[in-house]
Amino acid sequence: MFISLPQLLLLIVAYLSSLFAVGYAADRGVIPQRILNHPLVYVLSLGVFTGPLAVFGATELAFNYGYSFLLYYLGVVAMFFLAPLLLAPVLRVCRIYQLKSLADLLTFRFRSSSVGTLVTLAMLLAMLPMLALQIQAVSDAAQILFTSSDFHTANQRRQDGLAILFCTIIAAFTMLFGTRHVTAQQRHNGLVAAIALESLVKLLALILVGLGAVYSLFGGFAEMNDWLLANPHIIELLDSPLRQDSSRALLLIFFAGAIAMPHMFHMTFTENPGSGALRVASWGLPLYLLLISLPILPITWAGLKLEGSLPIAYSALAVGLSQNSALLTTAAFVAGLSAASAIIIVSTLALANMCLNHLILPVQLQATGRHFDVAPEIYQQLRWLRRVVISAIILAGYLFYHFLAEGQSLMDLGLVAFVGTLQFLPGILATIYWPGANRKGLLMGLLGGFLTWFFTLLLPLVSDFDPQFIRYLYLIWFDDVESIWSAATICSLGINMLLFLLVSVLTKTSPGERQAAEICSMDDLNRPLRQTLTLHSPHEFKHQLSTELGESTASAEVDQALTDLQLESNESRPYALRRLRARIEANLSGMLGPTVAHQILQRCIPFQLDGPRGAEDISLIEQRLDDSQVRFTGLAADLDNLRRYHRDTLQELPIGVFSLGHDEEVLMWNRFMEHITGVSADAVVGSYLTALPPAWTSLLQKFARSEEAAELRLNLASANHPGKASPGRWISLHKTTVVSSSRETEDKVIVVEDITDYQMLEQELLHSERLASIGRLAAGVAHEVGNPITGIACLAQNLEYEEDLTEVQETAREILKQTGRVTRIVESLVNFSHSGNGTIEATQLVPLNMADCVDEAIHLLELDHSAKPVRFDNRCDREHLVLADGQKLLQVFINLLSNARDASEEQQPITIASAIHNSQVHIAVSDLGCGIPEDVQGQIFEPFFTTKEPGQGTGLGLSVVYSILEDLGGRILLASPPAGASVGTCFTVQLERAEYPQEYL
């Protein structure tokens, strides 16, 4: 006896305790996070793949299949070598949606809880031989240590007692490792550290045994070479590889195992630390596997040299035993123990998660009326449930081992498990590359593949069922069959893929599946929909979720999601709330599985069912494109550059542009909008217009809802700049409609033109024009003022000598009359030039008497005695009132009458008449002058256009009239000659009719 039972138990407990100590230290933060997150630790943790098959089974494979034993490693090498094509897309989806197992991934992709249930059940079945393999490897190795070389002949029976002990210990450790955290947020640092340490121990121990075999048994490399030369049949064993179909099947099952085995999926995706660790693993894991496979051939040859004192699978133990070396024997045992314990711990944890999320919780939800029992809280419930499930899985593994048929080698058990998990490969590949696949196809394919596998490989392990039928099935297509397992591999996978393909093509794919397929598809960016939520704040989220999760859990989950997204707790933007909902679902999915999480979110935080399905969330898509870590190539790069160019063009336009969704959510807000509103894009994109300052909100909301395509010259009240003596901004608004990419809704693009500067220039122009008019009037005014002044002077002279009081009073009255005349002239001028300071003022629309305004204009024009004498005839109705600004309207008539006078002959009449048309007053200014040629009629309202001689006019008169009337909300029409006449011109001014205010009446 090499070792006693207590010593062996002590060794096992000491080894696992040291692992747990490392794990505990990692969890407590004793091991720095930068070490735990180092890609090397990740690579070592992926060494979990190398189970007892790598330590013991590989020698059996090498003995039977020569170099083909390397396929066990090369399958994984190929998978990681192709990581950018296969693992990276899966990792992306798993990280975003917190998917922790293969069942989670396939349920998420195929949007079906039955997929999760079937995958979990199938995975449990497929992993039973794998768990039995670990138990058998450790118990056999332990038994060999007890019995030394007698094992081969005397102890073919199962080592039940040792197996039970091992299972009990490993179950306790698995529970310790696996139930410390229940939320997906927390990476299992302790588990990763422990498994990485196990991989290191395994590697060093196996290399030690290999060196022991070479130097201790053979005496060195040269001697081993001589021994090989002396035994050419050994070399022939190496060179007699498997037939091609078998070797391909072997490569395929290990290739699939690298992603489908629950422990590999868990370590690769769930425990991935990010930051490019997978990229390092794509060459790091192949390097690790290279190193751990190096000692296999020397160990196998050592086993052969020892001439079968032990089964060839246990050659590693035979090396130490034959040399009576405690170090080598213990190293070989510890290598096997660490390999087996790593697989049992990780795969049991992964299977427990799958069982919880896809078997137990959905059933519990059904049983409790779709609600969790909120007291005690969900985290505690989950912890206990997980412990129970872990125990049950290890018990199932032990029972399978117990009922195994006699004579099953490690290799047999391993192959059955690997072929079982191979059945998930079509589903995984379709998840990434085939958006057309649907759940019915997957379910049928899995059922077909697994039933074939069950009857050909699994059932014969525990019964005397003869699977010869598979040979006949195989021989339908192939000439010969080398082994049952290779025929079963090809047939089960073939049936699986055929059913998957046919059913998927022949049946319909649901919209949910299509959306999930787009998310998972590698060349398709996730297209989130901009749906409307019924809740409006994180607080409401908490309240609703608490009905299902319990108050503290709901609060913790919402707070965690807010922290993840760096959002405030008072967030109310619909865009942010949608992201918050998605994050909560992802986090709950990590804890409860995607099916349950999806159902809870649908019930507690639903989207509005009525209205359009929702357009794509453009801003989120853009953000994801910007955050993308991949540099696009080829056409994608060109398109991305084009997108950036167009985006930058819109962003940098010197004009405000923003777009609104059908629900008035702001989708885009360019930099000029930020400038004129003072509201940043970050603050407003994803919000409703109500998030803007009140002045902007009312203005933009009114325009967005109106039927008008444009609103010109709007004055934004100075409420926009409280506390500032700002005259406010002048803006013009234009809008157009854009059909969203989903073609279900219409978005609006609104252009905001800041015309404040233009308005200021225009005011200056008006002022200049007014000054020009005043200049033209100046001579007449001087003459007009001069006459009464002369009269006053004469009267004052007479007054000096007048003594009669009556005469003095008469003279004073005359002087007052003359000064009144002067005052009236001056008042008219002041009145005309009153607003002419060149600054922008809001137009004050008040009811005005048209006839008075025309009188005032005529009076001013008549002051100019140098001008042509014409007859102004004001026929405006004294009762007609218009809504206008007095100063501006006066300028309109001065310009129109002045033009009419210039066009008329001496003493010709110029008629001004008014008429009511519906809600408007039409004022016609007609003359009998030379008229305006038809070919220039389209240009006369343009600035600086004149038909007068040089020096006679500025060309601004009519353009100013046009601009003022636009400002007043009126229009001007030209008819030259007027209808029914042969000569002359008629300008018709149309203005809104007004009534006197009530107080005047």
Binding site: L85, I235, D239, V280, S293, M522, D523, V630
Partner: protein, 58 residues
Amino acid sequence: MYINRSLLMVLAVALVFSPSALEWVNTGGTAWYRPYLLWSLLVLLGYWIQHQRSHDVH
């Protein structure tokens, strides 16, 4: 779809040379380390591809 051109190139080369490589391994006699030489080459190529790719990422 992001296309890893280095990876595709290596796969194409591997496809072309795999029969010769397998023959070279199988005719090694006592040179049992030959597969490991090819494997080492694969590791180096993997390192090179990922090194290239990490330069691509911005």
